[in-house]
Amino acid sequence: MKHRLQFTGKKLIRMALLLLGVSIVTFLLMCASPLDPLQTNVGQAALGTMSPEQIAKLEAYWGVDTPPLTRYLGWLSDVLKGDFGTSLLYRQPVISVIGQRLVSSFWLLLSAWVISGVLGLAMGVIAGAFRGRWPDRLIRGYCFLISSTPSFWLAILLLLIFAVWLGWLPIGLSVPAGMDAAAVTAADRLRHAILPALTLSITGVANIALHTREKMIDVLESDYVLFARARGESEISIILRHGLRNVALPALTLQFASVSEIIGGSVLVEQVFSYPGLGQAAVTAGLGSDLPLLLGITVVTAAIVFAGNLIADLLYGVIDPKIRKGASRG
């Protein structure tokens, strides 16, 4: 137990350091940018409605007169107090913008993450079980094709088919235009989330399916599957009882470690479907030089990714009986 806590502690410290690194790198990149946020946003309503203190703070972080280190430290000390600054475009505290967007993205990301994980696992298991035969070839071909396809183009294609051509689903916008946000029903939200979630799920399966296939092939060639066969277990029972059991853990770990890809995909997909999530906010912030928001989004995203990696690391300890029992004993 002590060992496990130590392990987790070390990982947490490393994660905090990495997050610090991410914020520094992002900050430096933004400082290096020739696009001056104050210049870009001068005269915009944003600056007009800000209090003089807020503008002073903004200048302190992003103005050219202060040295970068001082600026960064200022930003960091505010962040540690829970203040990520104020978004220039949305005229709201960055933290509340991120909060709203994250909630809206969360269900999209989660459903795509779960669907792609389950589907990918199933495809990998099937491909591995049918190794070399047509289901395997079909699945491998699909994975190859999908990993060569830009996700935003796939999103456009789905939009063309289901929204424009068939007219089954709405074209864009999470909230129907002209409707009061409060009047939007859950069903409406769902309808608008179907296509983005579908796109992300379709693209997300390739990686996990291919990895699971490899692992499944290893399992089916293992001694213990041979013995199970020798003891009269049926092929189906072998795949479900031994195959799935041994393939699930690596697949779950991989899925947790690949949070980054699905978030990256959501940036593009949300843009195509004008889905008001975190990804779209990142693009808007980037195009509008809303540096406080962009910085905030990057740090929050990285935190989610690192958390995913951490869970992947810890999962082995929780699920694998070898580590679980070994740790509880000594």
Binding site: D223, R229, A230, R231, G232, H242, D320
Partner: protein, 316 residues
């Protein structure tokens, strides 16, 4: 007594695929791992197959059980209880009448508890009871059912594997190198369990690389060399080297610790290599011209046993 297992002229081939850039360019190549093997086991009898590691002995076990890997196939005939043992029939019999006892703990699913594995997914009280009593027979308590394979000691793992065969009433047991890495005393203790099972009426095929161990328990011994059975002898024949029929068997005899520990010279040819004549021609002191040129050398009856040799009389 009617034999429980008859193997007639069994050969097992690997199909090796040479890989091409296009799947249509796969090139087949056949390698024989077991060549022209014949043997018989009657209930209550233990027959040992002795051969060096890597000589394809495991494939013999797999072909009887009908679980050859997808890239291999067999020729020849296997009869079980007088009837041809087809793959379909093997599928019905394995785990019911025919059992495999494998080498070690890697043959247990690392993520599944021992009890669950022995029960093969069934949960009815009858299965549970039988699993319980099988384990008990080998001194394994109820707590063992709740253990994962990695928690078993080496000896426990082996007893679990043997117990897996007595959850039903075994009629044929194939033990594939069941005691690797054990010292002679522990190995013999494990083997005594096989004797018990044979006395209860099962036929046992005992596959090993250890001649000494085989002799301590088997009634008959078939010696493998480069995929071929080169001699079949009674266990008593190993009392004196003069009773043995093949020069390789004699070399094995002299290699046993109590007979001088003299190393067996030469390298065994790989079973798959294309070659003519006797596989032992390179090492044999009595080798003649025709030993190298003859095609497949037949297994002939000789002095109460069988030998695959053109000139067994030369061996004096």
């Amino acid at each position: 007594m009617e034999p429980i297992l008859q193997i007639e002229h069994l050969s097992v081939y690997f199909t090796q695929y040479e890989h091409g850039p296009r799947s249509s360019a796969f090139q087949k190549r056949q390698l024989a791992a077991v060549k022209d093997l014949s043997l018989e086991i009657t209930p209550g009898q233990i027959v040992a197959v002795v051969g060096a590691s890597g000589s394809g002995k495991s494939l013999l076990a797999h072909s009887i059980l009908g679980i050859l890997p997808y890239n291999s196939h067999m020729e020849g005939k296997i009869r079980y209880n007088g009837e041809t043992l087809t793959e379909k029939k093997a599928r019905k019999l394995r785990g019911k009448e025919i059992f495999l006892i494998p080498q070690g703990v890697t043959y247990l699913d690392p993520l599944m508890k021992v009890g669950a594995q022995l029960r093969k997914g069934k949960k009815d009280p009858e299965t549970k009871r039988r699993c319980r009593s099988a384990l008990e027979r080998y001194g394994l308590g109820a707590d063992v059912e709740e253990l994962y394979p990695f928690e078993l000691s080496g000896g426990m793992a082996r007893r679990v594997l043997i117990a897996s065969a007595v959850t039903e009433k075994p009629r044929l047991i194939i033990a594939d190198e069941p005691t690797p890495g054990l010292d002679a005393r522990s190995a013999k203790r494990i083997l005594s369990h096989f004797r018990e099972l044979a006395d209860e009426g099962a036929g046992i095929l005992f596959i090993t690389h250890d001649l000494e161990l085989a002799l301590s328990i088997a009634d008959e011994v078939a010696v493998f060399y480069a995929g071929e059975t080169i001699e079949k002898a009674k266990a008593e024949d190993f009392g004196k080297p003069e009773n043995l029929r093949h020069p390789y068997t004699r070399a094995l005899w002299y290699a046993m610790p109590e007979h001088g520990f003299r190393a067996v010279g030469g390298l065994q040819p790989y079973a798959g290599d294309d070659r003519k004549g006797c596989p032992y021609a390179g090492q044999c002191t009595a080798c003649r011209e025709d030993c190298r040129t003859e095609g497949q050398i037949p297994l002939v009856e000789y002095r109460g046993g069988e030998v695959r040799c053109l000139h067994p009389d030369e061996m004096r």
